[in-house]
């Protein structure tokens, strides 16, 4: 333990996040091991930032690439309160239903729901105040994930896709 230690959040596939301690000299595998997490063979390790940059989502795929388990923390962008996502999928195929044909795009498992929503709103030309009340709801459920959640938390092992309906929030009445 040194004063260079800092706190990170680890997101296991389809599970709740856990807090862990990282040191720049640690490997990602060591950080995970200290938190009692052993990635399954072939599982991808993505490093994510705590803050969503709010930028437009362009293209049909993300650029984020996973890191090898033996990569040192210093060689990644992992910082204090940064995120490590462990997921069997390299990409998650997101399909969104609204008026008209479904729209699809590939996202890294570390993508936040807020970012997927931003893409979906643009894909369906929903802009301005009219877009404000539209949220993503997991298909065939009434589950509307928080904007701060990540796809890695929602997509469990065994699949690399997720479907959302773009639904309008109901304004409380009565």
């Amino acid at each position: 333990m040194t004063t260079d230690n800092f706190e990170v959040f680890i997101y296991p596939a389809g599970g709740k996040p856990v807090t862990a301690t990282a040191n720049p000299t640690d490997t990602i595998a060591q950080v995970l091991a200290q938190a009692g997490i052993t990635p399954a063979p072939g599982e991808h390790l993505f490093i994510g930032e705590a803050v969503d940059d709010g930028a437009d989502v362009v293209g049909d795929d993300d650029a984020d690439e996973p890191h090898a388990p033996h990569t040192t923390v210093a060689d990644t962008k992992l910082r204090h309160h940064g995120h490590i996502h462990c997921h069997p999928c390299h990409r998650i195929e997101v399909t969104v239903n609204f008026n008209g044909p479904p729209k699809s795009r590939k996202f890294a498992p570390s993508a936040r729901v807020a970012r997927v929503r931003r893409w979906a709103l643009k894909a369906y030309d929903l802009t301005g105040p009219a877009a404000s009340d539209f949220m993503l709801q997991i298909c065939q459920s009434d589950q509307r994930p928080r904007l701060t959640q990540h796809l890695s938390e929602l997509v469990k092992s065994g699949t690399c896709s997720i479907c959302f309906d773009l639904v309008k929030e109901v304004t409380p009445q009565g």
Partner: protein
């Protein structure tokens, strides 16, 4: 320490809460007068003209998590309910304006199914907004995130403070 308080304290050190705090979305404020079952939080909000970058919310978490918290905007010094002229305003008729209305219960609670006071007098919300029904699986993170999300709307206009 009663069980509800223990559960709340555990949720306030959960990665979900800490991650949101680290991202600057919300935080807890320790205040001598905000003792259990009350707790003071701040919510970060997008910039608007002559408006703060955060609002403080005083929560009463009696019965947490079996019961939903209730809360409203508060002065972080006095913990008094925030005066109407300092409260966030929304575009007329918008969901934002409805949830943060002050013409219901004198603004002492949020007009939303996640608010214990509001939910208790609107039994029909279970049918009309089933995905917003508070359950013991929800946490203070869901509560804070729900109201934080509302501020991301362009319907949020700021407080319209008088020009200095």
């Amino acid at each position: 320490m009663e069980l509800a308080e223990q559960i709340m304290e555990a949720d306030l050190v959960s990665p979900e809460f800490l991650s949101g705090a680290a991202a600057g979305a919300w935080g807890r404020v320790h205040h001598d007068q905000a003792q259990w079952p009350r707790a003071l939080f701040w919510l970060a909000v997008p910039p608007r003209v002559r408006s703060p970058d955060r609002y403080y919310v005083l929560v009463d978490a009696t019965g947490y998590r079996c019961a939903a918290p209730t809360g409203t905007f508060a002065d972080p010094q006095t913990l008094e309910q925030l005066a109407p002229q300092h409260r966030p305003k929304g575009k007329e008729g918008s969901r934002f304006a409805k949830v943060f209305r002050t013409d219901w219960e004198n603004g002492r609670a949020f007009y939303h199914p996640f608010d214990r006071v509001a939910a208790s007098s609107h039994a029909d919300w279970v049918q009309t907004m089933p995905n917003k029904v508070w359950t013991p699986n929800h946490t203070i993170v869901d509560w804070l995130d729900e109201f934080c999300s509302l501020f991301q709307s362009e319907d949020y206009l700021g407080v319209h403070l008088a020009a200095p």
